[in-house]
Symmetry: C3
């Protein structure tokens, strides 16, 4: 395929891109990591809009940095200062906003989750509404359902850690065991990162185990899609409440807090209630004794980490922690996604 | 004239620039539209300061994008985070702020209107105070009285729509009928955009009709200036309360809400009261039946549009709607203004 | 020494840099002032992070402008939108934040003072905690103890004003009298700028006099360090409550408000109380009659100035006022610091 295949494409979830296209992103990201300032013509003097319904550290820093390193500029926009139409206030429609932005920018990133939605799936709908009207690519910068750039950074990091040094061999993930395990904590996090990890991990042929206390089921549609991914790769998906069993033989441990399916009720996000509920499960923490059950697993997390709750310092800062490399990869995969969908390659 | 004629000039209202200078801006804007990334040396590594007393979508996006496409950078500054001296608080004087900024930046844009002023004209005074002390050009990014960049984008779009395809002939506006008509709505908008449209339309020889319900007079000084503009061009200015009559024979329909002269009283902006008053005039909306009275008029609006109040979806999204082209032109005229007043051309 | 000596170095206070290194910064700043856009390759497409715990005018504008003029980009980040761990809330540790940022950016600036600390020294500790974990240079953009870039801009301006025209001779400061005098005012300012001025002034061999009403002592450790600086240069440090005597023979008058040592008590910043206390000392203002006691001194101030309190308009806008030149120098010294510590020179 020609290098402009992906030009104009939206990225809302990796599941909607072919494996071939995901590999294309990863391969370019690897090249960009090796030659960090060799791609500054790609978005030269172009503008990328970032819409932050929710604030963020990593995502803001890495996207703005990505645009800069491609020679362009990312505008940091907060919709609270936009006069957008809502059910109760006059303002601009998404149609009008998206069609005008398409005249100015080469791409649009949107972040919406947690307290900025009133029910699970609402953020996904809004992003798709922008994508419907925009003539430019729309990229999720994390929303209530998915976090595709995190997923790409995850697998890039896992391949680097598990594969041969200095080579990038995606097949190394095939048949490996990925444990996505719930951690307690005081942040009531959205499902986007873990769901994306489960989906993309299963695309790469991993055996995926999801472990959580009772009452912390994820989106059944996502799990069904992941199960299909696994089947087509000859791998398996397992969902369990038995934590210790789940750690056994794992190659990658992804310990992360997430909210329960009850978090959104009556059009509200019951954050405090979620935190109180989660904080009771003090045994759901990734520590050295559990890591000892694995097959010398690496520890992974999309950060920011809630140390002492999701994971102990010993593991998070230990020799098998991939967290900073995965975080760095956010920059590289986002540069690659922007280059392939919006850029002059 | 040489190309550096406009170097150093402020742009607070188009009325203070000669017709020749306005044409110079439009001609450069047309060239820049055709060769969008051909001017990236003009503000290379220069800084443009944007002061947003009021938030904005279009203006922020288009100015920041304009600076980027000229090779420079626009800093997004919110005076609320500045320690500026006011009547009641200690802080920095405009003199000090403007003189220091002149050492850092190549130009300064200011937006101040609506709830950030306590009476009509106060924003205009503040911009002129900055312009008095700054050694760099000061550009209005919309203030309580005028919105010069919107006016330039308007006429650019009207000329494109009414003139021959592929040619830019400003004379096409001569003798055409411009209807500026009040629309109801829930936003209590400032007079800046419509006043600028009336002024610049009359400079280009248009017959201008202003239609509004009783109680919605605009600034009499602005109307007097527009009347003089018309007279010198052999055109006419009409002000009426009769909506239907006003639509007849129009070539351009500009339907837009604006606040009444009573909006500022006792040092306050009575927004809620204005909205309630305006929302009673439900018949003041631009719709297909009214457009049928015109001479196949185009619809124009500075956006964001309050759909369902100022105009129906049918007209706003119809085949004669110029709104997205006019919005796009904000980018091009602002690049041209910045290039001519601040740049290395 | 080679030009990369300073690569990777933090700048938290000028006192921790050798005199040679400070001169290296000043010499490069002078070159950059003369050839303002001749260094745009230095941070080409690199990202500098600015962390503003406290808002700022000059610092934001000058740092962001500096990065732009070096070909790079400064990201404006407000920690309030970061989910950082605090004593009472879950969130990210400084270790994690700093280590990830080191993967994205070439440098990190931090501003923290006034109401964002609960006791004097806390901001200094936080900056040093970031510096401990970051692999990239950390620069103070003003914190509760020091303001190194202001100090560098100060001496650069003083040398320009007191030395021969067109030449940059730092030795001109040797033996000159620097008066740092408290001014009343309604801003309850931190000690960072005046302490930095006292330290760097004494490094350059000036006789420093600090004058303030009783109850406005500065940090005794800083004064002790300055005294040592003076001794090693054959100069003197004097601390007095006698204002008029202090002006006599001064070559540089630095009149500025600062808070008392009682401002932080019980973990709180008692701003209103400080303002009321300070506003009683109405005789502590720099005016023409006091300037007449000096040896034709220049007036200096880090801005923003609280006119009418710290200094009269007559002096601040008079022919011996160096304020705008010093403010401009912020840009040049910061470009030089960034170039030497983070850049490709």
């Amino acid at each position: 395929m020609a290098s402009d295949d992906l030009k104009g494409r939206d990225l809302i979830v990796t599941q909607e891109w072919s494996k071939e296209d995901l590999l294309k992103v990863l391969e370019l990201a690897v090249k960009m990591k090796a030659n960090r300032f060799g791609y500054t013509h790609v978005l030269k003097d172009r503008t990328f809009f970032m819409f932050f319904y929710n604030p963020s550290v990593r995502t803001r820093q890495s996207f703005e940095c990505a645009a800069t390193e491609l020679g362009g500029h990312a505008q940091f926009l907060e919709p609270k200062s936009m006069r957008l139409k809502t059910k109760t206030t006059a303002g601009e429609t998404v149609e009008d906003a998206a069609r005008v932005m398409s005249r100015y920018a080469c791409g649009l990133g949107i972040r919406i989750l947690e307290d900025k939605v009133t029910k699970y799936g609402e953020g996904d709908e809004l992003i798709r509404e922008y994508a419907r009207w925009a003539d430019i690519p729309v990229v999720s910068m994390a929303h209530d359902k998915f976090h595709p750039c995190q997923g790409l950074a995850d697998v890039m990091g896992w391949i680097e850690w598990l594969g041969p040094k200095g080579k990038f061999e995606p097949e190394v993930l095939k048949g490996k065991k990925l444990l996505v395990v719930w951690g307690h904590g005081a942040l009531a996090r959205s499902w986007c990162s873990v769901q994306e990890a489960i989906l993309i991990g299963s695309r790469f042929g991993m055996n995926v185990t999801v472990a959580a206390p009772e009452g912390y089921d994820l989106d059944p549609d996502v799990l069904a899609a992941a199960r299909k991914n696994c089947e087509s790769q000859g791998a398996s998906l397992e969902v369990t409440h038995s934590q210790m069993e789940a750690y056994r033989g794992a190659h990658i441990v992804y310990s992360r807090n997430w909210m329960s399916p009850d978090a959104y009720r009556d059009g509200e996000f019951h954050k405090q209630e979620e935190i109180e509920k989660a904080m009771k499960h003090t045994d759901w923490i990734c520590d050295a004794s559990k890591m000892a059950l694995t097959d010398n697993a690496i520890f992974t997390h999309p950060m920011p980490i809630d140390r002492g709750h999701e994971v102990t310092d010993e593991v998070a800062s230990g020799p098998r922690s991939s967290i900073y490399d995965v975080a760095e990869n956010r920059l590289h995969v986002q540069k690659a996604v922007m280059a392939l969908t919006m850029g002059n390659l």
